[in-house]
């Protein structure tokens, strides 16, 4: 199926739009999907000042090594150098979450099979969740569940 946005490339997925309570599906190619995500992202930013840091400080926030700005990253999804992740790490988190529905790596590491820290953290949180549920502390359990979901990447 041809992308309904650019009408050029092959559609590989769809987006759902709700206009006046009516849900419609738009089939899109990966490029238009990325573009639409970015548009949605900046409209949220405009509407709610969600990344108010991005509009004022954000235009100034940049990697001291390669000079890539946070705005450039948010617009293109491209990062300039490994150091950007360190220096702008916290600020790019919402963008990463938006794309990956997760912010924590739990896969392999150069030193060993698995990223030990996050695996241990998940195990520890699951233990706490178990205890909170047993004690009927549902508020705490929900918080823990959300954190585990975030670490695992959106799914429990």
């Amino acid at each position: 199926m041809i992308c309904q946005r650019c009408k050029k490339r092959e559609a590989t997925g769809y987006m759902e739009k709700t206009v006046d309570g009516v849900k419609t599906r738009v089939y899109v190619c990966p490029e238009c999907f990325k573009q639409a995500q970015m548009e949605m992202f900046s409209s949220l930013e405009d509407d709610f000042g969600l990344f108010s840091g991005l509009t004022e400080q954000g235009s100034r926030a940049k990697c001291s090594k390669c000079g890539t700005t946070l705005r450039e990253i948010s617009e293109t999804c491209f990062v300039g150098c490994p150091y950007c992740y360190k220096e702008l790490g916290e600020q790019i988190k919402p963008i990463v979450r938006n794309i990956q529905s997760a912010v924590m790596h739990i896969g392999s590491s150069p030193d060993g099979e698995q990223n030990e820290n996050s695996i241990n953290e998940i195990a520890e949180l699951e233990e706490q969740l178990h205890r909170a549920a047993a004690a009927e502390n549902y508020e705490q359990a929900l918080k823990l569940q959300a954190r585990i979901r975030e670490l695992k990447g959106g799914e429990l």
């Binding site: 199926m1 490339r9 092959e10 590989t12 997925g13 769809y14 089939y27 190619c29 990966p30 490029e31 990325k34 090594k65 390669c66 990253i73 999804c77 491209f78 990062v79 300039g80 150098c81 490994p82 150091y83 992740y85 360190k86 790490g89 790019i92 963008i95 990463v96 794309i99 990956q100 529905s101 997760a102 912010v103 924590m104 790596h105 739990i106 896969g107 392999s108 590491s109 150069p110 698995q114 990223n115 820290n117 975030e150 670490l151 695992k152 990447g153 959106g154």
Partner: protein, 328 residues
């Protein structure tokens, strides 16, 4: 049965050298170091894009050994002699390691790549962060840097119109369905690529398992669709299969898109036992060999469209030799 539906499995890992910007670097020292490591593990050849003719470059794309982006970036590929491993240097990321195997072998492909990845990482030091994992140029690859994809032949799902429903289901599971040559390409010959979208917050083994799971479901749907296709119009389908076989084995000229359409029906004919084939791998090789650049290089010179169509038709002799109409 599955072999005809699942064509190949590919695992790709995106890696970058720590401390270097993602763009505009000198790739020579990286490739020299990589070659030094790889040389001890097998027989590898270096293919600098700047030293290859456009035909040779396209031939590597047609064989899925490199991406079009690597050509645009003027990068370089290091390819193992069995064409199963290819290391692209200077694409979107400094290094992209890839293993491609036939059939459903994602686990095996990752297993093979894991060792190569470890030795390259030990020698060069990849950019890695405790929270974000392997650091990549694009945020869509960060974490594991892994893309696991499976190439599938899905004529019945396409012809019965069920593919869109299938794509919707697959995208909901964070997977992408693309044409045979990746992002933005068309699904020629009813061949599609299924791959994971998510690379962060998931382990490599879970990526492999989730893609395999989706692929197995698609195989079941395709088999059901093949049954439905045959039931809805058996005579019409048999006629289309035999006509396709007839044209392929008697044509004097044939375009690539017509060839891809007809060979799909020949393969369906083999599935339905209307045709019999002594060696199905010959057909898979033929599909690669008739692609424009591969075909020109086989002839040793650039051919225009009409000449290519004639050569392509003559290459269909392989079908005459390996495929026959099954007696009722």
């Amino acid at each position: 049965m599955e072999r005809g539906i699942i064509l190949s499995s590919r695992v790709r890992l995106a890696r970058n050298i720590d401390g270097l910007p993602f763009k505009g670097i000198n790739i020579s020292p990286i490739s020299a170091k990589a070659m030094e490591v790889l040389r001890t593990q097998g027989s590898y050849t270096v293919y600098p894009m700047t030293a290859l003719s456009p035909l040779e470059q396209t031939r590597l794309v047609e064989r899925h050994l490199i991406s079009n982006e690597l050509i645009d970036c003027g990068g370089l590929a290091i390819i193992r002699s069995d064409n199963k491993i290819s290391i692209m240097i200077g694409e979107e990321d400094h290094i992209r390691e890839q293993c491609i195997l036939s059939g459903l072998q994602l686990k095996e492909a990752y297993g093979e790549l894991k060792y190569i990845d470890k030795t390259l990482c030990d020698a060069m030091g990849f950019a890695y962060d405790q929270n974000y994992g392997y650091l990549t140029s694009c945020l869509t690859n960060v974490g594991t840097g892994m893309r696991a994809s499976v190439m599938m032949f899905l004529p019945a799902l396409t012809l019965t119109g069920s593919l869109n429903r299938c794509i919707s289901g697959v995208t909901r599971l964070n997977m992408a369905v693309r044409g045979v040559y990746g992002e933005g390409s068309k699904a020629e010959g009813y061949v599609y690529q299924i791959s994971n979208q998510k690379t962060l917050g998931i382990t490599e083994n879970d990526i492999v398992a989730s893609v395999e799971n989706v692929v197995n479901h698609i195989v079941e749907s395709e088999l059901r669709a093949r049954e439905a296709l045959m039931q809805s119009d058996p005579a019409g389908l048999k006629d289309r299969i035999l006509r396709s076989y007839g044209i392929l084995t008697n044509c004097y000229m044939i375009t690539k898109s017509e060839f891809m359409e007809l060979i799909a029906f020949v393969k369906l004919g083999i599935y339905y036992n209307i045709l019999e084939c002594s060696d199905p791998s010959e057909l898979d090789d033929l599909i690669i060999d008739i692609q424009p650049a591969s075909l020109c290089l086989k002839k040793g010179r650039r051919l225009d469209g009409g000449e290519r169509d004639k050569v392509r038709a003559s290459m269909c002799d392989v079908i005459k030799q390996t495929v026959n109409i099954k007696e009722d």
